[in-house]
């Protein structure tokens, strides 16, 4: 009797323990290989990127921080090779408030503080006292206007003393608050069955979208005067705000129209079958869905509007950009703060616009009920 042939493969009575992955595939080394040096082309890109970073980052840090001057009364005391930040200490109020009287700065600050709950009640729905909060948000523009302009026992400040970053904020926030409802109305008007309403909306939207904002601002300062009866004159700030609002309403309406178009007509028909009136149908069924879809576009329009508020400098208002230009030509600072003032102004805008765009991405994910 022959013994059973020896199997070609030796049977194991236990599992082979897993071997660790090669060092080149895991950990720091693996990460480097897959992300930076996966092919010769990728390696080339990495080297180019490193050279670029080396050329830009250390000199920039040196200029902004390590070789910079941070104190001094005038630009002449800035003797270091880097940036001259001394003006921030001396002139930041002018940068932020323009020519607003210093004794009334607190009013701007209070208005800004009161803005936080007003915005919060619009953005978040799970806050205490939400019902009263909504009313507060609605009445906030009036409160802010009284605080900033005065009247009702508070000292009046003419609007031509508004300036600096405060001017950008006031124009931007007013534009944002007004352009959304007007944009919704225009979008509904463009899709209305009534031909007069439709054509009026189309003409307004297309004409405004067809021309640069700057020409509208020129209209605001030159032509509005012609259109109004003699002796009636609007404050420059008001005219500018009217034009900025008109401009972004037209863009807003196109964003919202896109949202409206993506709602299937079954929704509309179902709402009609329920016997809802036009406005109820829009308010309860169509708009909540359409606005949700349009959020990224709406926020982008807001961001564009806020950045566009700097255009007021071309018609002689001194917003943050205007103040930067003023400082650059100020005898105390001339030739010293050309880049520094722009950098700080850019940072202000960046922080606000970047957070708005992040918030919109976040909101988009949260409201997205289709995926998942």
């Amino acid at each position: 009797m022959k013994s059973a042939p020896r199997p070609f493969f030796r049977n194991r009575d236990q599992m082979i323990p897993g071997r660790p992955a090669p060092v080149t595939q895991v950990g720091v080394l693996g990460w480097l290989r897959t992300n930076l040096f996966s092919s010769w082309f990728n390696t080339l890109l990495t080297v180019a990127a490193l050279v670029l970073l080396w050329r830009i980052v250390p000199p920039l840090l040196g200029w902004t921080v390590f070789n910079a001057d941070f104190s001094g009364e005038t630009g002449e005391e800035c003797t270091a090779a880097g940036a001259c930040w001394a003006w921030v200490d001396q002139r930041i109020n002018q940068f932020l408030y323009g020519f607003y009287p210093p004794r009334a700065y607190w009013r701007v600050n209070v208005a800004l503080l009161l803005l936080i709950p007003a915005v919060a009640y619009v953005l978040f729905d799970k806050l205490p006292y939400a019902k009263y909060g909504r009313w507060y948000s609605l009445s906030y523009p009036v409160i802010a206007a009284i605080l900033l302009i005065g009247g009702f026992g508070i000292e009046r400040v003419p609007t031509d003393q508004f300036g600096g970053f405060m001017l950008n904020l006031v124009a931007g926030l007013a534009g944002i608050a007004l352009s959304l409802p007007i944009g919704i109305l225009l979008a509904l008007g463009r899709r209305a069955k009534l031909p007069v309403v439709r054509y009026a909306s189309v003409i307004f939207i297309e004409v405004v979208r067809g021309v640069p904002l700057i020409t509208l601002l020129f209209v605001a300062i030159i032509i509005l005067e012609l259109f109004l009866p003699p002796r009636v004159s609007l404050a420059q700030l008001v005219r500018v705000m009217v034009m900025i609002t008109a401009f972004s309403s037209a863009y807003m309406s196109e964003v919202i129209r896109g949202g409206l178009q993506s709602i299937p007509s079954g929704q509309d028909e179902a709402a009609q079958a329920m016997g809802l009136s036009y406005w109820k149908k829009m308010r309860l069924v169509i708009l909540p869905q359409a606005l949700k879809i349009s959020i990224p576009g709406i926020v982008n329009t807001f961001i564009g509007l806020f950045k566009d508020t700097t255009l007021v400098v071309t018609i002689g208002l001194f917003d943050i950009l205007g103040q930067a230009r003023l400082l650059q030509t100020n005898p105390d600072w001339i030739g010293k703060v050309d880049h520094e003032t722009f950098l700080l102004a850019a940072l202000f805008f960046f922080v606000i616009c970047f957070s708005m765009s992040r918030y919109s991405i976040n909101l988009e994910r949260r409201l997205d009920t289709t995926r998942r």
Binding site: T34, N35, L36, S38, N42, L45, T46, A49, L50, L52, L53, K193, L194, P195, V196, V197, A200, V207, G210, V211, P212, L213, I214, T215, F218, V219, I222, I223, E225, L226, F227, L228, P229, P230, I303, K307, D308, T310, L311, V313, T314, L321, R325, Q328, D338, H339, F342, A345, A346, F349, F350, C353, F354, S357
Partner: protein, 376 residues
């Protein structure tokens, strides 16, 4: 019963309100114009302008008319807008593709660039570049880069000089381009029919570049270069680009480029991942996959928003007025101040920008129609 009649009443009310508004505006305008002693109409376009324009594409001096000044300004707008569109498209596509690169460093650097330029006002960027360019050394201490001179008056570069016989070269170029298009058509037809490929790229290069080059040598080099030279006080010869144009162009193309890069990125991400995997399974290298599989499909999502970015760039070029580049709005502003014809000047702005927008969107719609998905 209640529906339609209420609609009619609503519309009548709207018409009435609009008519009243216009009557009010027209009456006021008339009264205001009469008080100011101005007459409405476009007759002023034939008056002498009496101001100079240093940036011009056609001949112009201060004895010319307002009408010609408008044309000069319009051409300047078209110049900076088309330069900007080309540069912004290149920057945008590069940045959009690089941001999706697996290379960690590159995608982060591009992200920082895109987020920063997108979220800072364009006007600030324009003035920033302008201030930097004005801080360059004076003409006498120009920075020389090859045949280029950089100074606070702008960039002076070699200018081509066309002598007799250059027309032949132009004809050669046109023939080359036409021949390339014909060859490409024939090659595509052949590839569809037989599957054989034809090196269209190299043939085209030979026809478009080689043919004029050969003609250039045969006809005895009719095109020369006028090199700028440092004279005793000033640079002589060559061709000068003003710092205003450079600043506007840089800012417009980097700003719009960052928006285009987001559109390109979105377009590429919208292409189903299976397409990449299928192309990989067929053995296509990644560069070819991007060029032949991903981008053609992504273009369908890219082109419509790209069109509106081009329109935005054209309209944003009017910010030139802030740094004194003499575009349509800037020159129109001067004319408005001199002649007082506010309504007419603004109407010219509107008509010009509206027709530029229409022209761009017509072209882009034609292109969009060509690349659109053909359902069979």
């Amino acid at each position: 019963m209640g529906g339609p009649s209420r609609g009619v009443i609503l519309q009548l009310l709207l018409v009435l309100a609009v008519a009243l508004f216009f009557a009010f505006v027209v009456a006021n305008t008339k009264a205001n114009l009469e008080r100011a002693g101005l007459s409405a109409g476009y007759g002023f376009l034939w008056d002498t302008s009496a101001f100079d324009i240093n940036q011009r594409l056609i001949s112009y001096d201060s004895t010319n008319t307002y009408g010609r000044a408008f044309i000069v300004g319009g051409l300047n707008t078209v110049l900076v807008a088309s330069m900007g569109v080309i540069a912004a498209t290149i920057i945008g596509f590069l940045a959009g593709i690089l941001r999706l690169s697996p290379n960690f460093l590159i995608s982060r650097i591009v992200t920082v660039y895109v987020e920063f330029t997108r979220n800072v006002p364009l006007l600030l960027q324009i003035i920033f570049w302008w201030v930097i360019l004005l801080a360059l050394p004076r003409v006498r201490d120009s920075i020389q880069v090859g045949a280029f001179y950089l100074n606070n008056r702008g960039v002076r570069m070699p200018a081509p000089v066309f002598e007799q016989g250059s027309v032949v070269l132009l004809i050669g170029l046109v023939v080359g381009v036409v021949a390339t298009i014909l060859v490409a058509r024939w090659a595509r037809a052949r590839q569809d029919a037989t599957g054989h490929k034809f090196p269209v790229g190299w043939t085209g290069l030979g026809l478009v570049v080689g043919l004029p080059l050969v003609l250039f040598l045969i006809t005895g080099r009719p095109i020369g270069l006028d090199l700028p030279e440092m004279g005793r006080f000033n640079l002589q010869g060559g061709f000068n680009i003003t710092p205003e144009l450079v600043a506007l162009w840089l800012a417009l193309s980097t700003y719009t480029g960052s928006f285009i890069s987001e559109i390109v990125r979105g377009g590429i991400l919208s292409v189903n991942k299976g397409q990449t995997e299928a192309a990989g399974a067929l053995g296509l290298p990644s560069g070819l996959t991007l060029r032949k599989v991903i981008l053609p499909q992504a273009m369908r999502a890219i082109v419509p928003p790209l069109t509106s970015q081009y329109l935005n760039l054209t309209k944003n070029s009017s910010l030139a007025v802030a740094i004194g580049y003499q575009d349509l709005v800037s020159i129109g502003d001067t004319i408005l101040n001199q002649s007082g014809q506010a309504l007419e000047v603004i109407s010219i702005y509107m008509v010009t920008y509206l027709s530029l927008s229409l022209l761009t969107s017509t072209f882009m719609n034609w292109y969009n129609g060509r690349i659109a998905l053909v359902e069979r």
